[in-house]
């Protein structure tokens, strides 16, 4: 199709829109550099005092730490459960397995406020409100469907004959899984793990309900800061979060490029 005037116009519009998507978040950068004690744009002079405050505050640091622990645990658990589940469903491949797959994707799509309510309701009698276990379990249930999706996508490109060949050559089920299936779905597993981590790292709605004070994640602290709306430390935290997002993104892009170049080699 020839590119008409409309297409040119639309392309310019799309660039503007994409800028509109990314740039607003960047306002946190100047705000975090304000020398003042309240939220404001810096005029002239810049200061790193709010970053200093962020990194020397035991509260913020413990929130970073707790979010990292919960995020990593969630990513590990969700990746293990999700990968197994995806391989299982792939091997069953019947009409039941598709129904089960749809069912297992529900935690991802059911509105989070309902999930929050469900966890809140059950975690109280179980006594795991406001504990690492409670948060990791809840986040794992929400994040595993992500892994299920990414691993399933990798499996879709996997040739089942390879599995058969491996078995014909005398490999056990376990060896086949370890040596043949897992390596070929590796990109899906990595992507899933990353998604699961980010989901947990960024989760707020469920966290608001099932955490109180002994577990106080980063989003929870941000949320409080936003509601209080006075302390520029929040802006500094936002900048750190943006930096982490961009790093994670660059890392995953690098990984997928490396995988792609290995495939073509």
């Amino acid at each position: 199709m020839k590119t008409g005037l409309f297409s040119h116009f639309n392309r310019a519009g799309a660039w503007v829109l994409l800028m509109f998507l990314v740039t607003p978040a960047l306002i946190a950068i100047p705000v975090s550099l304000t020398p003042k004690r309240f939220l404001s744009m810096p005029k002239g002079e810049l200061s790193l005092r709010h970053f200093e405050k962020l990194f020397s505050s035991p509260e913020w640091m413990s929130s970073f730490f707790q979010s990292a622990v919960i995020g990593v645990s969630t990513a590990l658990l969700a990746t293990a459960l999700g990968t197994l589940c995806a391989i299982g469903l792939w091997r069953v491949s019947s009409k039941y397995s598709e129904v089960v797959r749809a069912f297992l994707l529900l935690p991802l799509i059911i509105p989070q406020i309902i999930s929050a309510m469900a966890f809140y309701r059950l975690w109280i009698p179980m006594g795991i409100i406001d504990s690492y276990i409670g948060l990791i379990l809840a986040h794992t249930i929400l994040a595993t469907p992500m892994v299920l999706i990414t691993v399933s996508a990798s499996l879709a490109n996997f040739d089942p004959k390879l599995e058969q060949a491996s078995k014909n050559l005398g490999a056990s089920n376990w060896t086949t899984m370890r040596r043949v299936i897992l390596p070929s779905v590796k990109p899906g597993v990595f992507a899933g793990a990353l998604f699961a981590f980010i989901l947990s790292w960024d989760e707020i709605v469920v966290t608001l309900f099932i955490s109180k004070f002994s577990v106080y994640t980063l989003p929870r602290r941000m949320w409080n800061g936003i509601r209080e709306n006075t302390d520029p430390t929040v802006a500094a935290a936002a900048v750190v979060l943006i930096a982490i997002t961009i790093l994670a993104f660059a890392f995953s892009a690098y990984m997928s490029r490396r995988n792609a170049s290995k495939d073509t080699a």
């Binding site: 020839k2 799309a14 792939w90 469900a118 961009i246």
Partner: protein, 281 residues
Amino acid sequence: MSALRRHIHPGWALVAPFLLLVAALYLGPILNILWLSVTDPEPGLGNYQKLFESDSLLRIFWTTIRICLITTVGSVFLGYSIAYAMVHCHEKQKSYMLTLLLVSFWISILVRTFSWLMLLGHRGLVNNALEGMGVIAEPIAFMRNELGVLIGMIHYMIPYAVLPLLVNMQSLDMRVMNASRNLGATGSQTFWRIYLPLTTPGIVASSLLIFILSLGFYVTPAVLGGGKVLMIAEYISVQLLVTLKWGTAAMLAGLMLFGVLAMLYIMSRFMKLSTVFGGSS
């Protein structure tokens, strides 16, 4: 054992751990909530009756649906434009566009909401800039109203709208469009008569996705709405934490759940659910 094995595929053993986890710790309490909606504070349909007795509950529903609809239309329209541009440009430009899209996709909702607070406030950057340029004399109320909620939500939803559309557009056979042009149709005719109808599944899928995600949205309305925009999600949280009316909350959650499942069903007829999240693209 072997008889059992013939009936049950061994692959289920791998599915079982997560399946059990979801059934016990997720489905269980959700069913319990549905049960609550007809038993708390007293057995019967009292909670559902409130819907017809109270104008205000209906109004909260209406506010929610109105905001979700506007968000859906807005973000799918803008998302369509982005997806279209991405499909029809050079590989290199496309990968830059995809990078921007995904970066914004992954930036924390809290960071974005915070940024909007800085930008849209009474003394925010946007108002200051407009006043500085002499465009306006008085600051415009961009937030603590529906406008603020819509800006925040559409901004958040656009990447979600783009991904299903992108999958759909990439799968189209461009030869059909070329054939149309060769047969003498103009560019706009080709677009309206051929291209747009072919992308309908993508449009439907992304619309439903956005609508579902918007329905349960909590953070943006709570912060940018300033109390004036009460949507179901925030109302539910008030019932749980402040006024302790689990029954009402359960009723609203039940209705929301029913709506979402119905929409998922419609959506599943247009597109594989998993493609929506960009997993298999």
